[in-house]
Symmetry: C2
Subunit: 338 residues, 2 copies
């Protein structure tokens, strides 16, 4: 490959001059710079990121940590969308992305070690077990870090507004006359906590009391568990008129249970999802759900991280909240007074 040396030789200048010309340093004559730039272009010169990184200690590489042993890697729509946001934003700023895992070469190490090994300039922690000591080690390191959907002290985080999302959904259901609402929520993570808080707050607002047996723990992204729980809910002597599901995808399981019970949506029972994945608009009836701006979660995270990398001073502790939008569909029907 053509290096700075080749250009230097052919231009009759030193490598330092070439480097400076290429980097727009001021102490290079206009004519010399032109010559160098032209030749570089002609030879198809491309800087060597490796050498540059070694010298400057800046790799223009951001790590992305994502661990989701339960629901199978990148194929998880939530994460792949977030990742796409991170990726496109990083790309804009000239950064590349490296997935952080626990292997380097044939050895097992920690996430932090992997980051150091690759010399990433910062990390986005997108979905992980935030109690994992290896994750906290990373969070407490001196690397710039942005977390998504989880708050750490002294760390920037980008959150989806789960509380508001839930509140809006409850309000919508209430506006359609529903007072008997059940909820199947996901595993008890921070996200779930926020959603439940929003749920209860809005219920209170409308004077809705939710019996305990209508608050059920399911599994995110898992239609099977939702199908089972929905079936149980429908079998209760007192039946809810509206069921909230952990997310749009798991709703498919709920739908199956409802249909199997010989009931119709939304005539006999109403449904509410969460996420706003494309599927929810395509299926019919169109699902009422909260559309998280998942990609924006990624772009903002990347943007904040890069800002932190490039201007370590100016960053004040930042807690960006990404709001989504209500996407109302035919799954929540007007309650019939009979």
């Amino acid at each position: 490959m053509v290096s700075i040396k080749d250009i230097a030789k052919r231009c009759g200048v030193s490598t330092a001059t070439v480097s400076k010309a290429l980097n727009g340093q001021p102490d290079i004559g206009e004519e010399t710079r032109e010559r160098i730039l032209h030749l570089a272009d002609e030879l198809g010169y491309m800087a060597n990121a490796t050498a540059r990184a070694l010298k400057t200690n800046r790799s223009y590489n951001v790590g992305v940590l994502f661990v989701d042993p339960m629901h199978g890697g990148l194929a998880h729509e939530f994460f792949s969308t977030v990742l796409d946001g991170i990726r496109s934003e990083a790309e804009k700023h000239g950064y590349d992305i490296t997935f952080i895992n626990r292997n380097v070469g044939s050895r097992q190490t920690s996430y932090l070690q992997h980051c150091r090994y690759r010399g990433v300039d910062g990390v986005v922690i997108a979905s992980a077990d935030f109690n994992d000591p290896m994750v906290t080690e990373l969070v407490q390191s001196d690397l710039p870090v942005v977390t998504i959907d989880h708050i750490f002290n002294n760390r920037i985080s980008v959150m989806s507004d789960n509380m508001q999302g839930m509140e809006e959904l409850v309000r919508y259901a209430a506006s359609k006359g529903h007072r008997k609402i059940a909820i199947i929520h996901g595993e008890l993570t921070g996200v779930t906590q926020n959603r439940l808080t929003g749920f209860h707050r809005a219920c209170e607002e409308f004077g809705i009391t939710v019996p305990e047996e209508w608050i059920r723990e399911g599994v995110f992204h898992d239609p099977a568990s939702c199908q089972r729980i929905t079936k149980e809910l429908l079998a209760m002597p007192e039946r809810p008129t509206c069921i909230f599901f952990p997310d749009d995808y798991s709703w498919i399981g709920g739908y199956n249970a409802i249909r199997d019970a010989g009931l119709k949506v939304p005539q006999d029972i109403s449904a509410v999802g969460y996420d706003g994945i494309p599927l929810s608009r395509i299926m019919s009836p169109v699902l009422t759900t909260w559309r998280q701006d998942t990609e924006k979660l990624g772009t903002i995270a990347a943007d904040r991280l890069i800002e932190q990398i490039e201007h370590p001073r100016t960053v004040i502790l930042d807690r960006e909240i990404v709001t989504g939008s209500l996407q109302s569909g035919g799954t929540v029907g007007e309650i019939q007074t009979r």
Copy 2:
């Protein structure tokens, strides 16, 4: 960070000795090696990938090229699954992944330039416009390359067995008595060509003739276009008993059209998808489809690439074909003789 120098100093040996000890070179005394390894461990030493790459010209990084302007990046389930396969296989071998795009720093370049800039050891080209001159430039470069679902001369490629998949699907439909089969296919890429070949071949096998107006070009992964075309097919005077869709996801559009026409699946009309995404099993009726082993596509591609990187000599031109499996569901019903 602790470097090889620190270890050398504290062990009273040269950096060369440390390097050799760490890399398992034979010309180091057993006792010295022990001391070095211990200390390295104690100090939490981690090699610097950047420095190593600069010296050895091996980055242990593979590029992944994926361009899909139509259907929105990583969120495309097919690709995110392939990517996950690539990622996990690469990880096993101690490689990291870099997305190849056309930016380096603030400048626009070619894919090949980006690869050179990052010094990737090889590239997997997973989904791209294979006619794009920038893609062919990359394919014709001296970098190890593996392509997915597309064949280039002198390049290793990993293919999903689209022909066989289609044949099996037609056979299955035929076995259920269908003779009036329509097909909505995707854009005319190599993949589509193969599927159509398989389709026609199997039709011939069963003496099925397909009128031209039943062979329609739709768009992959696009329920809307399928909904439109399905509607048109249903409105024809002579109606097919079975419709093949470009993929499982677009089938949702087809389903909507069928339902809107007041027809039932599979009683009135049968449906066949392609891909075998989780959705197809969850929805009901369960969709008959060809389950591509998409993740395997990724793992094999990564495996072949790494083999090519590490043993340039031993690789003979390789054309791996990944076979999927028939996933038969209730969407293809027995034809009723009336």
